[in-house]
Symmetry: D2
Subunit: 382 residues, 4 copies
Amino acid sequence: MPQDVNKRRLRAGIVGGGAGAFIGAVHRIACELDGQALVVAGAMSSDAKRAKESAAAWFLDRSYDSFRKMAEEEAKHPEGIDFVIIATPNNLHFPVAKAFLEAGIHVVCDKPMTFDLKEAEELVGIVEKSGLIFALTHPYLGYPAVQQAKAMVAAGELGEIRKVQVEYNQDWLLEPVAETSRKQAEWRTDPARAGVSCCVGDIGTHGENLLEHITGLKIQSLCADLTSFAPGRPLDDDANMLLRLEKGAKGSLSCSQIACGEENDLNIRVYGTKASIEWHQLEPNYLTIKPKGRPWETWGRGSAYMGDAAKAVTRTPHGHPEGYLEAFATLYRLIIADLRRVKSGKKAAGGYPTAEDGLRGMRFVVKAVESSKAGAVWVEMP
Amino acid sequence: MPQDVNKRRLRAGIVGGGAGAFIGAVHRIACELDGQALVVAGAMSSDAKRAKESAAAWFLDRSYDSFRKMAEEEAKHPEGIDFVIIATPNNLHFPVAKAFLEAGIHVVCDKPMTFDLKEAEELVGIVEKSGLIFALTHPYLGYPAVQQAKAMVAAGELGEIRKVQVEYNQDWLLEPVAETSRKQAEWRTDPARAGVSCCVGDIGTHGENLLEHITGLKIQSLCADLTSFAPGRPLDDDANMLLRLEKGAKGSLSCSQIACGEENDLNIRVYGTKASIEWHQLEPNYLTIKPKGRPWETWGRGSAYMGDAAKAVTRTPHGHPEGYLEAFATLYRLIIADLRRVKSGKKAAGGYPTAEDGLRGMRFVVKAVESSKAGAVWVEMP
Amino acid sequence: MPQDVNKRRLRAGIVGGGAGAFIGAVHRIACELDGQALVVAGAMSSDAKRAKESAAAWFLDRSYDSFRKMAEEEAKHPEGIDFVIIATPNNLHFPVAKAFLEAGIHVVCDKPMTFDLKEAEELVGIVEKSGLIFALTHPYLGYPAVQQAKAMVAAGELGEIRKVQVEYNQDWLLEPVAETSRKQAEWRTDPARAGVSCCVGDIGTHGENLLEHITGLKIQSLCADLTSFAPGRPLDDDANMLLRLEKGAKGSLSCSQIACGEENDLNIRVYGTKASIEWHQLEPNYLTIKPKGRPWETWGRGSAYMGDAAKAVTRTPHGHPEGYLEAFATLYRLIIADLRRVKSGKKAAGGYPTAEDGLRGMRFVVKAVESSKAGAVWVEMP
Amino acid sequence: MPQDVNKRRLRAGIVGGGAGAFIGAVHRIACELDGQALVVAGAMSSDAKRAKESAAAWFLDRSYDSFRKMAEEEAKHPEGIDFVIIATPNNLHFPVAKAFLEAGIHVVCDKPMTFDLKEAEELVGIVEKSGLIFALTHPYLGYPAVQQAKAMVAAGELGEIRKVQVEYNQDWLLEPVAETSRKQAEWRTDPARAGVSCCVGDIGTHGENLLEHITGLKIQSLCADLTSFAPGRPLDDDANMLLRLEKGAKGSLSCSQIACGEENDLNIRVYGTKASIEWHQLEPNYLTIKPKGRPWETWGRGSAYMGDAAKAVTRTPHGHPEGYLEAFATLYRLIIADLRRVKSGKKAAGGYPTAEDGLRGMRFVVKAVESSKAGAVWVEMP
């Protein structure tokens, strides 16, 4: 008799993420960090030998060289996986997600959700029909300071939002791909695997997602100026955008993969009539509040005065910095808690990005490219 | 017999800057700081009583209640002023400058240069015809770190410039004017005295000037989205812009006077192919360099390794922070050195903004307003 | 037949760390984070019910209500634990470690190593005799920036070390225990469980360990002024010390648990003749280098230019901040790698604190207390 | 008839500060910055030619090659100086001050006040007898953030002070003097001109003065470990001290002139039972408050919420950074205001360091040297 799902760690499978892939290891650590799940099966590479070696390095119980076979067999296995993690290049997100959803297995998928908008729209339908959980990993939402920011905006502590500035600058595509050694660089800049955009699709979407998540305001229209600075690069490696949001707020979004010397310089500033908020991903444990007419405040993760939303996703007391892996693990914490609910016949509680968010992200990418191609003109976001 | 100009402090006059005006005192301190000039005469207010009291408070030798009379009399006075400082609201810059130039007196003028573009164009002609020095006070250029940044870009240390981000966010117009106590707020938001723009004219121009000064690249076109957030305000208090620069560089510029909690948050980041540079006016003694593939560097004002341009405008050794007044004083140092040259029959050396820069600044303001009125579309900068 | 130890995750047990204890969860996460071990058994509380509930919450295979019984049974179990984690109050460290070592089970122990110096000396003997691995968890050594600092000092990049400043300020004992809600506060300030010192024993030792680890210099003598500021507190909650190190270097160490508003403000500055190094635990991903006559440098964790020692303990690329849990996990990574070596008949490689370091830490605490009791006079460190 | 003192700038003279001397120019700028005084006479060097050239470069009305002659003649001159500035090496402070005080001229003197304790005690008597103003320039007291800190402590906002940490680290004496190019290095390290201490006398006293000024607590005893690290240097270039203050507070003070890469890294942290305060001279416009159980606060110079003491010494609105020269000028502002009072027959108001503070500073230096020579033992401060 299978063990009660609430009395054991959940079993996860992974597609992609073989040796050398950065994001595969991140998903494993994040998934397992709270002691609520273990990765036990994988189709970690389309190359059979590499798949096997990757699975062995992770001590997986079961290794596959085909995600379709994996979906099929895990669905039948008495101790089959409870959910699958998709950590492949963008062009495989859709077929993999479809295969597992149709096999009745819940899905946690890396972003952007799909290769193109058509797939994204279709996937939303498949998810709905399946009744299963589909979660998209925008890890920055998992930082306690981001949860705190969202809660403060929602509680009206900033007053009306007037202006938002988001930046996400990196430099890992500073050079043409031939001159870099990063495996990821190859497919990210290849339209056949990455889709219509490199920079906006990869990191611009994080900015968009973070902005809408924290402010609760939708982007209504945008004017985007995309550039491919590196010689011979077919996709954008930089973008500057103007934004108009609901309720009359204005904003700007800058993202770049050729910003020399930048790590993951993701920053957001939200200006309201009563206070503003500022957060920097490189110092994620702190949130700066600038209230009208009073001193600036630095709110520290893990402090007693933080709100419930932030506390719920905090692991260590203040002064013990949490980082990117913990933020990523927080998404898994929320997802796994929902998986336990659903598997126990309860209702999902959410709190993590879903297929709807994924579709919105895809639309953002498509609209940014459309705006830029037309000469950086204003286009509406549906 | 008048004393040799090189054996005495120069004599300055001031128009405007009466009691309660922030910028008047700044000009006096900056002008006198290096011990090269003294303010001795003034028409500090159009209100006669206030003019007299302001002059007495500054121990001036001569006080006027009309700038025209001042120009006329000082030109004839055996110990008349060597130059005049214009620190009035924008709408008076032109007539005051004209009066003094036509009286044969050199001019140092606050920015923006004039009330509108027509005046600016006319003033350039008047200056040319006069053969006198006309200097515009963009004080941020006076910071040693800015001089260093400009020199490093010029020396090719950043490689090709690809991307520039400039921000200048404040909050002093967060509330409608009626609710603030700042004297300046009144005329800044009044189209009859400030001109076509408040925020872009007041601080956006600082951003534009700083950007072009450091990068040596002209803005070729811009797409500007201006907003008046405060209820009832006739002029913009916020702007977001996309920029296209010479040589294919791209950029963005954000300025705001309603960014709750911000002081004078003027920041610039310049991204090149070999290195990037970052400077924050609120910590002006440091310049951050992010070279490709090497650790970030913090260059400290006053250090032995700084370049000649920065050293030439440095007063105290490193570790003794210089601030805004010193930067402002540096403009005066350069201007006064030129006045000494010119008065000794030598050629001016420059290094400070001139009427041409002032005209360019006015064009920037006009074009930003034009772009925004047309729906935030791209417009060319001549 | 038992599975090859190199083809499976190691099995860990834990003593202490029951529900509500901060450090227990930290050990579990750190131990499991790299996917190299799983906690499968525990004696998590001396209270049987709490022990059972804690074990169930962690999905442990086996729960004990006595650490002696656990040592005995695990030693015989065919799938018994490979090592035990000790996460109890200080006074239990010795008996637990002794029980497991004598049962032939490797030990990972929280610091300070023992209740008093006598136990520490005895434990060193027991470890030696056992031939087993005994590792002490000073987690700050696990930060890549700390590894980098140590490597740079060792390579002579700082020249001769002249001065070292270490601080570790917190505020969690600001109030008398009765007024705080932290479980840990109770035993930390109780001489019967914590030993001769609270503040120096708890965090001063981290400072001493970090200082000697990075500089490679031993403390030769110290002059310590300990204080109990909170009314009625029997042990120190604050200390200021002067240090004299090998090779003529001087230093100071400050630690406090009543420094209002401080989180875990652990900072170290090492001044050499050629460069200095500065590291702040609250921004652990960066290391500041101040070379003679050149700009300050900020070295970022995960960057290509970092040395091998730092790279070996780096999980995510630069820009994805790592935190305290990752640093803690790095100790486990090094320990587990050694466990695999030893269990495969190879020689241990070390790189983590051992019983000798634990003994040195205990001596430091005892000498600090001795110095202070004598009026803050100089005492020698053996 | 001499002009009413309140209707003119005061006239200052200077002794020392000839070409090449850093501190001379600082005094001139600071003295004149607020437009309340002008330097008009000087004995700027004991070398007659250099004295003359220095005076000419400053456009002084009167130049002397002997301070005694200057005192004598200025006392008789109908437009003689109102006060003298002493900017010589330490060994001349006393004779110069004595000469001017006895000539009936007020004195502003650089620190440390005298060459040795005997002189200091004698000078206190001379000042008292003279009835004149004697002010000592500890410029760091002039920063608005320091004024704010002092006011907050005095108002009880920190509760009881428990712990204070002060540091002042520089590196300008990193090398033996023969290898540096700084003129000042020569006399600072020469016992015949600097006195019994180099580092403690030069910058340790700033730390002591700042600490007592902000906290209002006197140092009661100290234990100081002074070192001469540079080969062949006869005086200390580094010191670490433990402090015991009034009301049971404890502290530490570190100062160094061989701290590689440090500029003027002057920092103070004051820990109370209700809040702590932190200030860094390198970012002087901000004061960090860490209140118990609430977020950290950053108080910005020039903000409306600042207290009266800080506002009284603030020149520019927030966001326009002030620096070292402005802080120095604030001392002069307070001193000149008192000179106006005294010359108008009113009572001095104070607010700047006096001869009593200078004597205390000298005692601190002497006691630190005494403690260190005895093996770094505790000594009482009278």
